[in-house]
Each structure stands twice: as structure tokens, then as C-alpha cells.
Amino acid sequence: MPEGGTYFGQYVTIGIFALVGVVLVLGTLQLAKLVAPNVPDTDKYTTYESGIDPIGSGWAQSNVRYYIFALLFVVFDVEAVFLFPWAIVFERFGTQAFVEMVIFIGILAIALLYAAKKKVLEWQ
């Protein structure tokens, strides 16, 4: 076990888990390759479509409306990033930090409200 105290110690654990995860996936795939019978056939490469021959390519262009969901995710992801340091200093900063974060979240909440009212969040 390398030295480095608590900080690196924690990340060694994470590193080991990550390594185990990678090895598990890759190992299983390799194992399957080793033990599975290998009988190549062009039909096996066709897209399965309930027994009907597939027409055209498997690629479909998705609707641009879904982009809003991706962007909403990004927006609130960025917000979440700021919440971590905020939560830590909140106790010391008190009201000031609270007001600052309320303004920040409030603006984004208005964005969400606006998007919902404009009916862009509805699937169909």
C-alpha cells in the first residue's frame, strides 16, 4: 500500500474498484469469445426486426426537441457542481451564502418554469 495518508488512500480504493470493473467486463467478453462456438453467418449481422427483413439503415435522426432535455441536464449539472462548495461553506457564510444561492437557483428555477409553461418539456 503506497503512502500518502488519507487523501490518496481513498483514491487507491477507487482505483482498485475501477480496475476490477474494467477487468470484469473485458475478461467476461474475452471469456465469451474463448468458449463460444464461432460459426459466422451473414444473417447474424442483420438487425433483428421481428422476423421481417430490415429496410434502410438502422439510423434515425432524432427530433431536435430532445436537445432541450440535454441542455437542461447540462444547466442543472453545472448548478449541482456549485452546490458542493456551497454546502461546505454555508455554515460559516450564513445568510450571505444562502441569498447568493437562492438567487442562482431562483433564476434557473424561472428558466425551468418558463420551459414548462411553454410546453417544450412535453414528450410526444
Binding site: T95, Q96, I110, K117
Partner: protein, 513 residues
């Protein structure tokens, strides 16, 4: 706990806060009050002044205008305080509160209000949604204002991004127009590209000075004052990249490639707003950065800026001559005008700063009117914007042709117009600083530029039997008002320029360290 909450003074960014709050209100009002029934929407061209077209949905533009009014009021209030107590910084040195930023903010608010007026009529006639348009205009003006008073490169970058993102969307607002989509795409890609230059510039400046702050303790100004000018190559390189990033925004050659396409594809009210506001905001940041903060390094950055100025004036003027589309022509003309303003930047004296402010204010008022005329003549999708489409305008709309004549003469810099006074002021500043040869180049560029403004005038007054389709102006009271205001400003400031110049001279006091 020994933490002391800083007393937060807001007067420096009160106008921005007012605009942002108004934008939020506009969004909420739009979302909750809902859309006007579509059947009531008048078709393009069927409108009669005073009828339903402008009486139907007043609340959003009115709210936006109140926001701009509040912004002007708060800016004037800040100016009083600056007069009383001197220039300061606020928000831990993030915001400079000085006459310079206040002047820019008031000018920007006027541009924004004119855009709202034009945009309202434009959108109603084309049956487009208005809420987002107004909100984006408000956001972008707030970003531009923040740019003018930013005293930290991080804030400058965020302000730049805020107004840029709003403008990317506004350019492509009329989604039925393919050229608008293309324009928005090009503007966005090149704008994002320029932002990375700006960001890299910030990183280099930070690497060189250890700070992104302009005036504060340990900031760039104090770094330059305390450190011997030995190892500043990194700082100069960073400043160069910042100039590149801002050069994109003010459409300086060689960073102008997006300009013609974006100006042509955008709805004309937006084009006017971009030409007026984006340039003013970009130059505000450039003036503060180069003429104040990096003033000690002026011998390092000046050659680069002189090069940009000369190339911009010449290339903009020459390429404008060969354009057939009036919006593209005005785009290249706006590039040339950026070059003229650069001659004031290289002067690095107070006269240059006030001259640049005067130039940008008068140019903005003129160009907004010019694009308003293009908007009322262009038709629903702005297809009639070729120079030949203006053939016979004098016969069809003599007053409109007269006003366009005045605006074109002002852009060309002919006496008794504001454009003449503005050119005189910036060229005078450059001569005073000893850059007479740059001014000579500028004069040559002006002469070339005069050719294409005159070309429009000639076409306009030509009475030609072969006019395929007479120019037809579709305008309501708002367009008429804005065009009239622009013409009046152009003429009045061409005759009585001293009050505005005095204000601009008052505006050259920057917040110090």
C-alpha cells in the same frame, strides 16, 4: 467565526440587474399570459397604422421599454455618485464604477430600446413569437453593459458569452429563413472559436501576472506598476489573444469573416442591434484594456492594433464596393467603421477614448435607422435587399429616400451629419498622438467607402422605366418613429455635436487601482 460579510454595493451594476430582472419578468409574463390567438394576427403588409397590429399585445414591449428606462435612470444615478465620490470598484474589484461605463451603458440602453421598438413591429408582421426575442435582447444588452464596467477578465468573458449567446439565437430567430439559420450557425461557430482565443488570452495573462483582475490589489495594473518591464512576453502574447477575441466581436479584419453572412441572414432589427451594440461593447472592453490597463505596454501592442486598423479600414471599404446586397454592403461598411474606431484606440489619449465613444454612439444611432429602412423595404423574408431593389425608391417613397440619403451621407462622413463630426474627432485624436499616416490611410478608405454609399443614392433617385417591382415600404408607427429618431439624431448631432462630445469627454475617467 471571523468571517466578515463584505458590504455589497450595487450601484455599479444596477442597470444590468434591472435589465436581467426585466428579462425574467418578460419570460414569465410571456409564459403565463400566453399567446395571442393566432387568427387575430395580421398578415404581412395588411397592416394599417393604428389598427390592431400594434394595439394587441403591448405588455411585453412595454415591459422591456420600462426595463431600459429603469436602466438609464440607474445609470444616471450611478453617474451622479461617480461625480460626487470619484470612480471606484465594487464587488471585490470585479466591477468598475466610472463615467466611462455609465456613458456606454446609457448608449447601449438606447440601442436596446430602439431594437425593442423595431423588433415588436417586425415580429408581429411576420407572426413570430415575441417573448424570447425581448428577453434575449434584454439579456444581451445586460451582458454588453457588464462588459463595459467589468474590471476582471473573468467577468469580461462571462459578459461576452452572455451577449454572444443571446445574439447567436437572435440571428437565427426567423427559423423559416434558411439563410438566417446558416448565418446563425456561422456566427456561432466563429464566435465560439473567438471565445476560446479570448479564454486562452486570459490564461496567458493570468500566467504572466498571477491575476485576472484589472485594478485590484495584486491586479494587472499594480503588477505592471511594480514589476520591471523585463519578462512581459507572456503578458503581451496574452493581450494579443484578448485583442483577437474582441476583434471578432467588433468585426475587425482579419476576424471579420462571419460579418457579411451574419448581417445578411439576421432579421434587420437584430442586424442593426449587432452593428451598434456589439461593436460598442467590444470597443468598450478594448478601450479599457488597452488604453488604460495595458497603457504601460502600449509600445508592444500598438503595432498589432495599427496593423488591424489599417487592414480593417482598407479591406472593409474595398469589399463593400463590390457587394450587390445592401445588408452585405452595410456589413462591410461596419467593418470599415470598426477600423476608423481603431484609429482612436491607437491614439491612447483621452481625446481618443471620448472620440471612440462619440463615434460608436453616433454610428449606432445611424446604423439602427439604416437597417430599420432595410427592414421595412425588405418584405416578409427580406428577399428585397439587393441594391437594385432600391431602384425608384425616391419616386415611391420620397421621404424615406431622403432619410436614407441622410443616413448614407452620415456613414460616408459628409459634413452636417454626425458621421462627419465623429470621423473628425477620431482622426483628430490619432493626429494628436502622431499617427498622421494612419489617418491618411483612413481618409483614403473613406473616399473609397463614399463610392458605395453614393451608389445606393444614385440607384434610389434613378427614374427607370424598367423597374420590375417598385420598392414598397411596409411600416407602422414604430418603424416610422425609430427611423425618424435615427435621422433626427444623425442631423442634430451633425450640427450640435458639442453636448454629446462633452459628455463623452466626461466619460473618460476610469476607475483607478
Amino acid at each position: 467565526m471571523d468571517f466578515v460579510a463584505p458590504k455589497i454595493a450595487l450601484s455599479g451594476i444596477a442597470p444590468e440587474i434591472a435589465l436581467a430582472a426585466t428579462a425574467l419578468l418578460v419570460l414569465l409574463a410571456d409564459a403565463f399570459i400566453g399567446d395571442r390567438p393566432r387568427t387575430l394576427r395580421p398578415e404581412h403588409g395588411s397592416a394599417r397604422p393604428g389598427s390592431g397590429i400594434l394595439g394587441n399585445r403591448w405588455h411585453l414591449p412595454l415591459l422591456s421599454l420600462i426595463g431600459f428606462g429603469a436602466a438609464v435612470y440607474l445609470a444616471l444615478d450611478a453617474w451622479d455618485r461617480v461625480d460626487a465620490t470619484g470612480a471606484t470598484t465594487q464587488f471585490s474589484g470585479m466591477i468598475a464604477v466610472d463615467g466611462f461605463s455609465v456613458f456606454v451603458k446609457i448608449t447601449l440602453a438606447v440601442f436596446g430600446a430602439l431594437t425593442i421598438l423595431l423588433g415588436h413591429e417586425y415580429l408581429v408582421r411576420r407572426d413570430l413569437e415575441e417573448g424570447e426575442f425581448f428577453a434575449l435582447v434584454l439579456f444581451s444588452v445586460a451582458g454588453m453593459m457588464l462588459m463595459a464596467s467589468s474590471a476582471d477578465l473573468i467577468v469580461t468573458f462571462l459578459a461576452l458569452e452572455t451577449f454572444s449567446i443571446a445574439l447567436y439565437v437572435l440571428v437565427g430567430y426567423q427559423r423559416s429563413r434558411l439563410d438566417g439559420q446558416e448565418a446563425a450557425m456561422k456566427y456561432f461557430l466563429l464566435g465560439a472559436f473567438s471565445s476560446t482565443f479570448f479564454l486562452l488570452g486570459i490564461a496567458l495573462v493570468f500566467g504572466a501576472t498571477g491575476s485576472t483582475n484589472l485594478y485590484g490589489e495584486g491586479g494587472i495594473t499594480s503588477f505592471l506598476a511594480t514589476t520591471p518591464a523585463a519578462d512581459l512576453s507572456l503578458l503581451v502574447l496574452g493581450a494579443g489573444l484578448l485583442i483577437v477575441g474582441l476583434g471578432f466581436k467588433v468585426a475587425a479584419v482579419p476576424f471579420h469573416m462571419w460579418t457579411p453572412d451574419a448581417y445578411q441572414g439576421a432579421p434587420s432589427p437584430v442586424t442593426g442591434f449587432m452593428a451598434a451594440g456589439s461593436k460598442l461593447a467590444g470597443f468598450a472592453a478594448l478601450l479599457r484594456l488597452l488604453d488604460v490597463v495595458l497603457f504601460p505596454l502600449r509600445w508592444d501592442w500598438r503595432p498589432l492594433v495599427i496593423g488591424i486598423a489599417v487592414v480593417t479600414m482598407i479591406v472593409g471599404s474595398i469589399l463593400a464596393v463590390v457587394q450587390d446586397d445592401i445588408k452585405r454592403m452595410l456589413a462591410y461598411s461596419s467593418i470599415a467603421h470598426a477600423g476608423f474606431v481603431f484609429t482612436a484606440v491607437i491614439a491612447t489619449n483621452d481625446r481618443g477614448i471620448s472620440g471612440a465613444l462619440f463615434y460608436l454612439a453616433t454610428y449606432g444611432l445611424t446604423i439602427v435607422g439604416a437597417f430599420a429602412i432595410v427592414a421595412v423595404l425588405g418584405g416578409p423574408e427580406e428577399r428585397r435587399t439587393r441594391v437594385n431593389d432600391f431602384r425608384g425608391l425616391f419616386a415611391a417613397h420620397p421621404l424615406l429616400a431622403g432619410i436614407l440619403t441622410l443616413l448614407m451621407l452620415s456613414l460616408a462622413g459628409v459634413p452636417i451629419t454626425s458621421g462627419f463630426v465623429a470621423k473628425l474627432v477620431v482622426f483628430g485624436a490619432a493626429v494628436e498622438a502622431g499617427y498622421t499616416w494612419v489617418v491618411v490611410v483612413g481618409a483614403i478608405a473613406s473616399a473609397i467607402a463614399a463610392f458605395f454609399y453614393l451608389r445606393i443614392l444614385v440607384v434610389m433617385y434613378m427614374v427607370d422605366a424598367e423597374v420590375a417591382e417598385e420598392p414598397k415600404a411596409v411600416m407602422g408607427p414604430l418603424s416610422i418613429g425609430v427611423i425618424g429618431l435615427s435621422a433626427a439624431a444623425t442631423l442634430v448631432l451633425g450640427l450640435f455635436w458639442s453636448p454629446l462630445i462633452e459628455l463623452a469627454e466626461k466619460a473618460t475617467f476610469f476607475a483607478g487601482p
